[in-house]
Amino acid sequence: MRPLTQPETKILFEKLDKYIGENIKKLIERPDGTYCFRLHRERVYYVAEEIMKCAANTSHANLASLGVCFGKFTRNRKFMMKITALDYMAPYAKYKVWVKPGSEQSFLYGNHVLKSGLGRITDGTPRNQGVIIYSMSDTPLGFGASAMSTTDCRKCAPMSIIAFHHADLGEYIRNEDLLT
């Protein structure tokens, strides 16, 4: 376990910026304590400082997880956000997509969001913007990237993709062992 280096931190914040914008500050400066990011086995963990100090006692081989895993760095040092970060992104999301109840299951199986399944979308969503996907009852289901802007959504064909799937809650069952 080690703190993130400067380049790594930059890549991480850029990714976060895509989904939650300038609200990153709220993640770090929290009223209930100082939180930090730590790297362990190419995975980024978001954890409070006291807990991080306790975890420092454990040896590298024996530590499995601490706090919340946000995602992992790939071989080419790109950052891949994981579904486990959803709880910390959903409250600060800037752009949201709501999915109709009928297409909920489809998204949870890993498919993209189509126009036919689109319920609502935040106004002014640009293209290729990180979005959080919700169900109609305001339960966050996952996140992705918008395929087209809000204005384009209105015009496009029913079977065209509105939002690309990045991560969804169904992974807790499908990919349980690859999560963290």
Binding site: C54, L63, L66, C69, L108, L179, T180
Partner: protein, 604 residues
Amino acid sequence: MGRHIKNQEDTRPKRGPGRKARKQPDPDFNEAKPRNPRRVAKKQAKLNEMKKKQAEIKQRKASKKQAEAKEESEEEMETVSFMEEEAVVEGEVEEQSEEEESEEEEEVEKMPLFTDANEEMESKISLIPRDSDDEDDDDFELPDDEPELDDDDEDDDESEEDSDEDAGEKTMEDDDADDDVQINVSEVDHFVLPSGQEIELEKTQPPSLDIVKERMEKVMWILAQFSRNPDPTKKRKEYKAVLKHDLCTYYSYNEFLMGEFYELFKLEELRQFLDANETQRPMTIRTNTLKTKRRQLAQNLIARGVNLDPLEKWSKVGLVVYDSPVAIGATTEYLAGHYMLQGASSFTPVMALAPQPGERILDMCAAPGGKTTYIAQLMKNTGMIFANDVNKKRLDAVKANVHRLGVSNTVISNYDARSFPAVIGNFSRVLLDAPCSGTGVISKDPSVKMNKDETDLNRCSHLQKELILAAIDSCDAKSKNGGYIVYCTCSIMVEENEDVVDYALKKRNVKLVPTGLEGFGVDGFTKYRHHRFHPSLKLTKRYYPHIHNMDGFYVAKFKKFSNTIPVSKNSKVEEADVEEFTTTAPKKRRRCEHLDTNAQALPT
């Protein structure tokens, strides 16, 4: 040996259906069986007596009949004179019948075994489709019968198929017997234990569950009545052995486990327990209060068509699911982390632990993470939880559950839990859900029935003792509001539960406190077979599937009142313990610890 026979002679019933129950094998007319000459002589004497009696009776009857016949014939003679044809015909007919009768009588006389008085019996006996046993029929006639000593030897040679037939025959004999008491005794009393030959036969054939079940119920009935109607000829342990064997066959257990359960439960309870192990306990879920409320969750699930109810009054977060059109483990609410599938009995140790917000908690065997996440929700995501498990694969489940339920204050590690105070110690509370034989969750994993034997149990017990010492040493007695250790297993065996707790009480400065689960659950044992435990063990709680409709479970709550470790007389082992696991004494003072005046007084 001789004494044994004498007792049997004195107290066995001399007449009535009980004796007949012991069938002799088919008589072999070709080979003469070697018989005890004394017995044979006695029998012969009896036979002769009987013959004489019967002959006398016959003569009397015959003479009576002759007298009647003479009278009739005189009448006939008179009638013949008046009515020639008819009278002759009648007389002839009558004479013929008389002749026939006399012939019959002669025939019967030739077979001295049957008398007129027993014509009824003769006809009934002939209805029974089996080989005749002349000697048995003989004996039946005798009013005062000597106990059939031969029958003792031949007890073991009976076949069970005959016992059912015997039951049929017995009822008829009951009717004929003058003894009213014998009639009232039900068929069960005449139940006969299977013979050695029979047991051998059963081993070679696939078991017939109906027969086994019937026999089981009969034996249980007998054992229940045993003290009231003692049959000194049969010892309780013979019935017990048969019953255990049948229970093993019927419910598919191995002998060792069945023996253990037999000691744990009374007969009726044993039956209920074994039946409960065949069925599933109801599915329960635990609301994740970090993300939702129980009422809200219930409404959402009901909207999906799930049939559920709040779980009894002792839990504020539990829900029982009766049936559901959708898979409960795959609903959107589940994926969103609003609830977790967890057995009702797994709520209890966390409720006993009662973690407070801001504390440091250690969960030594955390997989799959149900209890860890429950602790986190009780602490409202504050403080710190150290979740550990030795199995790396199962640790993935802990990680997944922790993340899914939105728990953020957990460190998950992969150590052997016995290494604990060395890695990190000074926790406010420790939860040890020890690996066990799993005899309480047989309904979930039926392979336990056949797999577990004494070596497994001893291994588990040894491991649990090591783990509980590590757990106690990881706990800080001086922590504010803390110093509690909860030990729990999903087993009902005393060797894994009370024994381990008692061991901990002896080895460390801990005491048992009430679990906080009063109102439901059976108290732990303070004595069991040859074990005698500390009296405070009644503060621990046991749960049974057949009483509480939860998985079998055991919970014990300790309070640590001192961080020092008592030194026992086996100084070699203890010194090693003291050096490694003392948490508060600084390293420098190790050698001089026994001279340290500030150290707590050690219990002698």
